[in-house]
Amino acid sequence: MTIQIRNTIRFILNHRLVELADVSPVQTLLDFLRIDRNLKGTKEGCAEGDCGACTVLVGRLLDGKLKYESVNACIRFVGSLDGCHIVTVDSLAQPAGPLHPVQQAMVDTHASQCGFCTPGFVMSLYGLWMENAKPSIAGIEKALQGNLCRCTGYAAIIRAAEAISAIGDVGKDPLVVERDRIARELATLQDGRRVEIGSETERFILPGSVDDFAAVLEANPKATIVAGSTDVGLWVTKFMRDISPVIHLTHLEELRRISVDAEGVTLGAGVSYAEAYPVIVEHFPELTELWDRIGGQQVRNMGTVGGNIANGSPIGDTPPALIALGASITLRKGDRRRTVALEDFFIAYGKQDREPGEFVESVRIPFVSDDARVAVYKVTKRLDEDITAVCGAFRIAFDAGRVTDAVIAFGGMAGTPKRASNVEAALKGAEWTEETIERAVTAFDQDFTPLTDWRASAEYRQLVAKNLLRRFYLETQSSGQIRLDRTIAVAV
C-alpha cells in the first residue's frame, strides 16, 4: 500500500483558510484561538468540557453534507480539525456592524450579566438555531445542557432563545447561505492523504483511511487513539499527561457510518452520540433518555460510543445499556478482526480485552426480541450533564407471567460495568410478582459491593440499585406516577 503523506493540517477558521505545519499533539483549540490567534471572544471556564464557556461551532462533512456542531474548544485538539470549518463568536458580527440575531436576542432579553458565559451560550444557541429555528423549550434546554451560567438563572437566556427567529431569518444566515460553497471548499481539503505532524516526542497522525489507521496503529502500538477527545482531552488539560504519539480517527468518514439490517444496528467506532441519536431513538427508544443525559450537547457532538467503551470506565453510560442489549464489538489489529461480547471486554478496573495495536472498529447492537422489555435508568446528583452515580440497564423477557430471560447490567456499582448475575438468576424462571422482586433484590448484596465517593455513598448506591429493579417492576404494573414528569408545560 503506498500512502501519500501530508505534513500540514488545513482548516477554515472563521473566514480564512489556515494551514499549520507546527502543531503540538496536545495543542487545544481553545489555546490556539486565544493565544496563537488572539481571538479572545472564546473563554475558558473549566478546561474540562463541563462549562461551555469555550463553545465554538465546528462544521464537518459527512457524505458531502456539511453540518455545524457545538463543541468544547478546551478539550478539542487542533490536530483533529483537519478539513473542518471552525466558527468562533468573534466572527458573528462585524466590528461596527449589527449584532447577529442570536446576539441581539441575548441583549434584548437581558440574558447576560457578567457576560463570561455568554459567548458560549451564543454559540450553542447559534448551533441550535441552524438546526431548528423554532425550538421547543425542552429542545433549548437540551442544547444548553453543556453551558453553565452562574449569574442569570437561565430564564432570560431561554427567553432569548425563543426570540431569535423574530429578530432574524435563519435562511439568510451567512453560514446557511454559504453552506454549499464552504462544503465544496472543505471537500477540496480532503485529499485522502495521511497527515503526519511533529516527530519523536511530539507527534500526531491522521491516517488516510481505516486500513491506514490499522497499519499505523499496528506500527505504533503505544500510540494514543483519539476519537472525540472527551476523555483524552482531560488527560491533557487536567492531568498534564503525555499522550504522544497520537492517532486521530474522527476525520475518517468510514468509521462514522451507521448501518441497520434485519437483526440490529452497527455503529462505526467514530460515530458520535449525536450522530447515533436518530437510530437509537428509532430502534432502542428505551435508551433515548439515557442518550439525552450523556454529557451536554457539545460532548454528545464530539464523544463517540466507541470511545465510551474503549475508555473502560465503570461509570461510562453506554456499556451497561449495551451489555443488557447483548451488544458486541469488533476489534481490529492490522487486517485481523475479532468480535467479543461487550461484557467480556471489561476485565477489571482499568483493564480491557484489547491488545496493543488493536482498536475498536465497530459496535453491534442486536434488536430486542418482542417478548423482552428494556429499561435503562441513570441516577445522578444533577439531572443533566452529570456523571452516573448508578446506572442500571435491564432486559427481561417474559412468557405467560414468568421470566424467561434476564440480563441486568450496572454502572457505578463495581470496578467495571457489570452484570447482576445473582439477581438475574433469582429472576429467571420465576413468576413476575412483587414477591419475586423482593426476593431478587436481596441478591444485589451478592452481586455488588459498591464504593463510597463524592457522587454517592455505598449505602445509597446499593439501595438505589435495588430500587431500580423495583421501578422496573412497577413500570410493568403501571400504578400512578412512577417517574418524574419532565414534560410539565414550561412557561416563560
Binding site: 486565544r34 474540562e48 457576560g115 453553565l148 452562574r150 449569574c151 444533577r382 445509597y460 412512577i482
Partner: protein, 779 residues
C-alpha cells in the same frame, strides 16, 4: 440665545429597564476580561504550587525538577517576599501567601513558579518534590469542636429577653440539630491577576477583585511599599459572588511580587481545579437549637449555637458568622432569645464571603426551627410563619435590639399566596401524595428579610468621580466594581438622571484605586446604594456650581435654573446641555467633582450585641412546588413563584435578573451543590465535573418572578431603591422546604423530616428511608 424644543424625558434615566452597559460586548466576545488584555512582549506567567496534605510539617522541598523544567524563569517562595508574607484581611497575621514550615489545608499555596508560558509554569509546578510529616487533621466542624480546635476569631452572642424564663413558660420544648453545607462560588471567570511593573516602587495590577482598595493595600504590604505605589484596576469580573472579595488578593500579590522581581509583566491564573481547591467558599454550618413554643406554635424562646467550618484562618469568618446570627430570626419575633456563633478552625481552605455572607445559613437554621414547630403542632409551616412574624405591640425588636420599622412581609406573603394559589395547590399536593406511592410532591412558601449595610460601619462609605468634558460628554468613575450585577449601568442611570442627559452620553470607566481611593468592597449588596449616592453627590456638586454660574451670568435666580431633558433652562430660555457646558468652561467653572456618601443612622456595638447594624431591610418571598422520586431521591422543581422587594427599582430589568439568578444560585446551594472531602482532607468536588451547579434544565418548570412594584424604601436611599444582590438568594429556601414536605409525606406529615442541606438526591432518599422506618415504628 437658542430656544430649544424641550423633550419629555431622557433615554436611560432611573427606573428604566436599561440594558446592561456591556451587553453588546458580552454577546460579541469583545468585553475585555483580564485574560483578554493584550499581553506586552515578555509577559511571564506565574503558577501556584499547592500543598498535597491537609495538615503537615514541611520537612524539605526539592525544586530541582521545577527549575529545570522547560521555560521556567524562577521559583518564588516566602523568602522572595520583600514585605510581609501575610494577606489576612482580618489583620490576624494568620494567612501567609506562601507557607514555610507547616501546611494547614490540602491546596494551600507553598510556592509559585514563574515561566514563559502558563502551560510551562503549570507543568513545572507539578514537578516539585516535597517531604511532609503528617499531623492529625480535622475537616469537619463537629470533629473540630471535639478535637478542641480553636476559634479563628472571637465569637458573637446576641441575647434579648429572659431565655430561662421563656423556656420555663413554654408548653413545648424541642431540641434538634441541622447541617448546612457550604458552596463554591463557581464564578465563570476564575481568579486572575496581571501585574505590570512601573518605575521606582510602582506597580499596576489588573485584578479580578471585588475589593480593589484592599487588593491595593495587600499588594503594598506584601511588597513593602506605600499604598501610593500600587494601582489596582478592574473593568469587570466574570462573576464574583463574594469569591473575589478577599480571595483575589493572593493572586494579585504573587503577580506583583513576580513582576517586581523579574521586571516583567506577570499574569497569574490558576486552573479551575486549583482555584476551587485553593480559594475559600461559603461556610458550612452546624446548628444546635432548642425551642420553646406554645400549643398554637407561637415561639417563646430560642437558644441556638451556630458553628461554622471556617477553615484554617480568620479571613471574613467573624463578620460572616455574625451575619448568620443577624438572620437566624428571618422574619420572626423571638420573645426570648440567645444566639451564639462558634467560628471554628478546621484544616480546610479558609472560608469567605459568599452572597448573603452567612445570612442564608442563619436563615435556613431559622426556617428549620419553624418547620420543627409546624410538624410538632401538626400545622402547615406557613401558618407557623405567619403566627410568628414581626409586627404588633412589642413584637418588633430583633435579637440585636434593632427595631424593625419597615416591615412589609405581611403584604408580600399575602400577595404571593394569592398569585401562587398556595392554599389550593397545597391541598392538591396532599391529595396527589395520597394517590401516589413513588412520586411525592411538596410545596412551601418561605419569606425573606435581609438586613442591608455592612456590619462593619466604616465600610459604609463610598466615593465617585465625575468629569464633564467640554463637548458635554461625561466620564463617571466610582469605587464599586462590575461583576455582572449591572452596577455600572445603574450608577450611570443615576448620573444621567442628575444631569438630565441621555444615558449614552455617560461613560463608566474601569474601577481603579487611582481615581477613587479607600473604597469598600463591592459586597453586602451595597454597590448601588453607596456608589449611586456618591455619584449623585458628585453630579450635584457640579450642578450646584453650574446653577450658581448660570444665575450670575444670566441674572436670574438660582431657582430659575433647571436641568431638563438634554437641556438647561435658564429663566425662560433654554440651552442645549453641550452649549451650556462650553460656556461654563469658558467662564472657568470647575466641571469635575469627587462625590462622597456615608450611610446615616447605623451603629453597632459588637461586644454588647446591640445597635442598629442595618439601614433598612429588603423583603421577599417564594413559593416552590417539587416532585420527588422516592425510589432514588431525584427530584425536580415543578413551579416557583417569587415576589421580591427592591424598593423603587433603579432598573427593573436588571433587578429581575438579579432575583432570578440569585434564586437559582440559592436553590443550587441547597440541592445539588455538594462539597465533599475525603479521608485525607482533600476536597474532591473541585471542578464542574464533580461540583454540580444548576443548569438551564434545573430551572423550575414554571418560573414566575415579579418585583413588588408598590414598594418604596422608607429610608432615603438612592431614588428610594433597595439593594438586590443578596436578599433574593434566600428565596431558594422554599425549594429545600418543599423537598422536605415531600419527604414528610411518607410519614403522613407527622414527623419533622429534618432534611439537611444540600438536599442531594441521596440525602432526600435517606431522609425518606428514615421517615418510613420511623413511621413504621410509630405504627
Amino acid at each position: 440665545m437658542n430656544v430649544m424644543q424641550p423633550i419629555d424625558r431622557i433615554r436611560g434615566g432611573v427606573h428604566e429597564k436599561e440594558r446592561h452597559e456591556s451587553g453588546h460586548k458580552h454577546v460579541s466576545g469583545t468585553a475585555e476580561y483580564i485574560d483578554d488584555i493584550p499581553e506586552p512582549q515578555g509577559t511571564l506567567h506565574g503558577y501556584l504550587g499547592l500543598s498535597q496534605r491537609a495538615h503537615a510539617e514541611i520537612l524539605s522541598i526539592d525544586f530541582e525538577a521545577v527549575s529545570s523544567s522547560e521555560g521556567v524563569i524562577g521559583v518564588l517562595t516566602a523568602a522572595d517576599i520583600p514585605g510581609e508574607n501575610d494577606i489576612s484581611p482580618a489583620h490576624k497575621h494568620d494567612e501567609p501567601i506562601f507557607v514555610t514550615d507547616k501546611v494547614e489545608f490540602h491546596g494551600q499555596p507553598i510556592f509559585a513558579v514563574v515561566a514563559t508560558s502558563r502551560e510551562a509554569a503549570r507543568r513545572a509546578a507539578a514537578k516539585v518534590k516535597i517531604e511532609y510529616r503528617d499531623l492529625p487533621h480535622v475537616t469537619d466542624v463537629l470533629e473540630a469542636a471535639a478535637a478542641n480546635y480553636p476559634l479563628v476569631i472571637d465569637p458573637l452572642k446576641l441575647e434579648r429577653g429572659d431565655i430561662e424564663a421563656g423556656f420555663a413558660k413554654a408548653k413545648n420544648i424541642l431540641e434538634g440539630e441541622m447541617r448546612i453545607g457550604g458552596q463554591d462560588h463557581f464564578y465563570l471567570e476564575g481568579q486572575i491577576s496581571f501585574a505590570i511593573p512601573g518605575e521606582d516602587d510602582e506597580v499596576l495590577v489588573y485584578s479580578s477583585t471585588q475589593h480593589p482598595s484592599e487588593t491595593q493595600h495587600m499588594v503594598a504590604t506584601v511588597l513593602g511599599v506605600p499604598s501610593n505605589a500600587v494601582t489596582v484596576n478592574v473593568r469587570r469580573m466574570g462573576g464574583g459572588f463574594g469569591g473575589k472579595e478577599t480571595q483575589a488578593n493572593i493572586f494579585a500579590a504573587v503577580a506583583a511580587v513576580a513582576a517586581k522581581k523579574y521586571r516583567c509583566p506577570v499574569k497569574v491564573r490558576p486552573d479551575r481545579d486549583d482555584d476551587m481547591s485553593a480559594t475559600g467558599k461559603r461556610h458550612d454550618f452546624h446548628v444546635d437549637y432548642k425551642l420553646g413554643f406554645d400549643d398554637e406554635g407561637r415561639i417563646e424562646a430560642v437558644d441556638a449555637v451556630f458553628s461554622a467550618r471556617c477553615g484554617y484562618s480568620a479571613d471574613l469568618s467573624g463578620p460572616v458568622t455574625d451575619r448568620a446570627l443577624f438572620h437566624a430570626d428571618n422574619c420572626y419575633f423571638y420573645p426570648n432569645v440567645r444566639l451564639r456563633s462558634r467560628p471554628l478552625k478546621t484544616n480546610t481552605v479558609s472560608n469567605t464571603a459568599f452572597r448573603g455572607f452567612g445570612g442564608p445559613q442563619g436563615m435556613v437554621g431559622g426556617e428549620r426551627m419553624i418547620e420543627e414547630i409546624a410538624y410538632a403542632v401538626g400545622k402547615d409551616p406557613l401558618e407557623i410563619r405567619k403566627l410568628n412574624f414581626y409586627g404588633g405591640e412589642g413584637r418588633n425588636l430583633t435579637p440585636y435590639h434593632q427595631t424593625v420599622e419597615d416591615n412589609i412581609i405581611g403584604r408580600i406573603i399575602e400577595e404571593l399566596e394569592t398569585s401562587a394559589d398556595y392554599a389550593k395547590r397545597r391541598e392538591a399536593v396532599i391529595a396527589f401524595n395520597r394517590e401516589n406511592n413513588v412520586v411525592k410532591r411538596g410545596i412551601a412558601l418561605t419569606p425573606v428579610k435581609f438586613g442591608i449595610s455592612f456590619t462593619k460601619t466604616e465600610y459604609n462609605q463610598a466615593g465617585a468621580l465625575v468629569h464633564v468634558y467640554t463637548d458635554g460628554s461625561i466620564h463617571l468613575n466610582h469605587g464599586g466594581t462590575e461583576m455582572g450585577q449591572g452596577l455600572y449601568t445603574k450608577v450611570a442611570q443615576v448620573v444621567a438622571d442628575e444631569f438630565q442627559v441621555d444615558l449614552d452620553r455617560i461613560k463608566v470607566t474601569a474601577t481603579t484605586t487611582g481615581k477613587v481611593p479607600n473604597t469598600s468592597a463591592t459586597a453586602a449588596s451595597s454597590g448601588s446604594d453607596l456608589n449611586g449616592m456618591a455619584a449623585a453627590n458628585a453630579a450635584q456638586q457640579i450642578k450646584a456650581r453650574l446653577v450658581k454660574f448660570a444665575a450670575e451670568r444670566w441674572n436670574v435666580s438660582e431657582t430659575d435654573v433647571a436641568f431638563e431633558p438634554n437641556t438647561v433652562r435658564i429663566g425662560v430660555d433654554r440651552l442645549s446641555f453641550n452649549e451650556f457646558i462650553k460656556i461654563a468652561y469658558g467662564a472657568r467653572i470647575q466641571l469635575s467633582a469627587a462625590g462622597f456618601y456615608k450611610t446615616p443612622k447605623i451603629h453597632w456595638n459588637r461586644a454588647e450585641g446591640r445597635g442598629r447594624p442595618f439601614f433598612y431591610y429588603a423583603y421577599g418571598a417564594s413559593c416552590s412546588e417539587v416532585s420527588v422520586d422516592t425510589l432514588t431521591g431525584e427530584y425536580q422543581v415543578d413551579r416557583t413563584d417569587i415576589l421580591h422587594d427592591v424598593g423603587r427599582s433603579l432598573n427593573p430589568a436588571l433587578d429581575l435578573g438579579q432575583v432570578e439568578g440569585a434564586f437559582i444560585q440559592g436553590m443550587g446551594w441547597l440541592t445539588t451543590e455538594e462539597l465533599w472531602w475525603d479521608a485525607k482532607g482533600r476536597l474532591r468536588t473541585h471542578a464542574p465535573s464533580t461540583y454540580k451547579i444548576p443548569l438551564a434544565s434545573d430551572r423550575p418548570r414554571v418560573f414566575n418572578t415579579r418585583l413588588a412594584e408598590w414598594s418604596v424604601n422608607r429610608e432615603e436611599t438612592i431614588r428610594r431603591s433597595k439593594a438586590v444582590g443578596e436578599p433574593p438568594f434566600m428565596l431558594g429556601i422554599s425549594v429545600l422546604e418543599a423537598l422536605s414536605m415531600a419527604a414528610a409525606s411518607v410519614a403522613e406529615y407527622r414527623i419533622a423530616p429534618r432534611l439537611d442541606a444540600p438536599a442531594t438526591p441521596e440525602r432526600v432518599l435517606m431522609a425518606i428511608e428514615r421517615l418510613r422506618a420511623a413511621a413504621r415504628q410509630k405504627g
